[in-house]
Amino acid sequence: MSEPFEPKIVAFVCTYCTYAGADLAGTSRLKYAPNVRIVRLPCTGRISPMFILKALQKGADGVLVSGCHPGDCHFTHGNYHARRRWMVFRALLDFTGISPERVIFSWISAAEGSKFADLINSVTEDIRKLGPFDQYQQLIKETESPATL
């Protein structure tokens, strides 16, 4: 148990912007925290709040959702729809007691490799400071079924 806490973060990203941005971060040899598991989706409009719940259900300490800047969506307005949904979902999580600090949203374009690396680093640090998501992990424990992330 003496091992230092390493947060587990799941990132849902759109393939056209943020994933390309992550790619750029990689090809530019930028170093960033290895705590993030990236799930690539066609568009932020495809990122259902269910995904966020599922990530938490599997034991994530934090969730990052990211896509194209407004106006840049490959599908013209997928991210506008997503934005409304996130706003509502974020308020809902807040109201039910899941701190908004654990679910982070961002816009990262294909050109912003360094923003991606910086964001991952800062999010990892923030969640490290928050510590493990004990409240939710307690719920998972009660189900008898293991958190498998």
Partner: protein, 276 residues
């Protein structure tokens, strides 16, 4: 009493001249403070109709019963303003055609029942706008204010406490006029998004998912809250989410049958203060 008699006569007339094939209203229940939904197809059945301050169930969910409106005939229904809003949402989501619905509007203050003027949803738009501007006092919940003041941990604990009683009977879903999906998200198992078991995690997920799906659609009729056999204050979450869409997107659900669903539309200048 006068309203009730007047409506009985109206329903009988409309049935007799074939304007409607059925009217959905209320009749006495098993105790004096209970009312049962009533399906009026004959003049005798119309005599059973009662209308008083215990008629609180929102009946609009019955309109999406499979096959009811498929014959293009018209159906009358007794609705309070919330019910009229649900009809508007159902119409906006293409679940029914408002031209097929004859509304017998009513509302009450204290024990005094009064009829609302109008028959189609359009007739009530002024009334609904009025409600939007001046929401009835009853919607102010002391408990809601208490929850707002809590910190995240306390809120989490509060809701865990409430949801721990949930038995996953889905009465909230079944009682809700907005939950018309043929296959609910908890019923689909490929993938299984939400745990079907009724442990605290499964209960939490289910209630969050339902609240999310009702965001910007709930009219606070209270059907879910009353149906819940374990008395979870479900109305609080839905009220909070309704406030969120009003504040965030200036969207008051169910104003008209052509209102765009809030989560299926957007404005380019929607707020995004929380996005990094």
């Amino acid at each position: 009493m006068i309203t009730q008699e007047k409506y009985r006569t109206t329903v009988k007339e409309l049935l007799a001249n074939g304007s409607i094939k059925m009217a959905i209203g209320y009749r006495p229940g098993s105790t004096s403070d209970r009312r049962r939904p009533l399906f009026i197809r004959t003049s005798e059945e119309a005599d059973q109709l009662v209308l008083d301050s215990t008629c609180i169930t929102n009946l609009s969910g019955y309109l999406v019963t499979e096959g009811l409106l498929s014959d293009e005939k018209r159906v009358g229904i007794f609705l309070r303003p919330e019910g009229i809003r649900s009809i508007n949402i159902l119409a906006a989501e293409y679940q029914l055609n408002v031209d097929q619905i004859i509304i017998f509007g009513f509302d009450f203050t204290g024990r005094e029942v009064r009829a609302l003027q109008g028959q189609t949803t359009g007739d009530f738009s002024a009334l609904l706008s009025e409600i939007r501007e001046n929401p009835p006092l009853a919607t102010k919940e002391p408990l809601l204010e208490r929850i707002e003041k809590m910190n995240a941990k306390e809120r989490f604990d509060f809701w865990q406490q409430e949801f721990s009683r949930c038995i996953k009977c889905y009465a909230c879903r079944q009682a809700c006029p907005m939950c018309y999906c043929r296959r609910c998200i908890v019923d689909s198992n490929q993938p299984q998004w939400v745990n079907t078991s009724s442990h605290t995690l499964g209960n939490f997920e289910w209630n969050v998912v339902r609240a999310f799906h009702l965001s910007g659609r709930c009219v606070q009729c209270g059907n879910c809250d009353r149906a819940c056999p374990v008395n979870i204050p479900l109305r609080l979450i839905n009220q909070r989410m309704a406030k969120e869409v009003v504040d965030g997107f200036d969207h008051f659900a169910g104003l008209s049958p052509t209102q765009e669903p809030v989560l299926a539309s957007f404005k380019k200048d929607d707020t995004e203060t929380f996005i990094l």
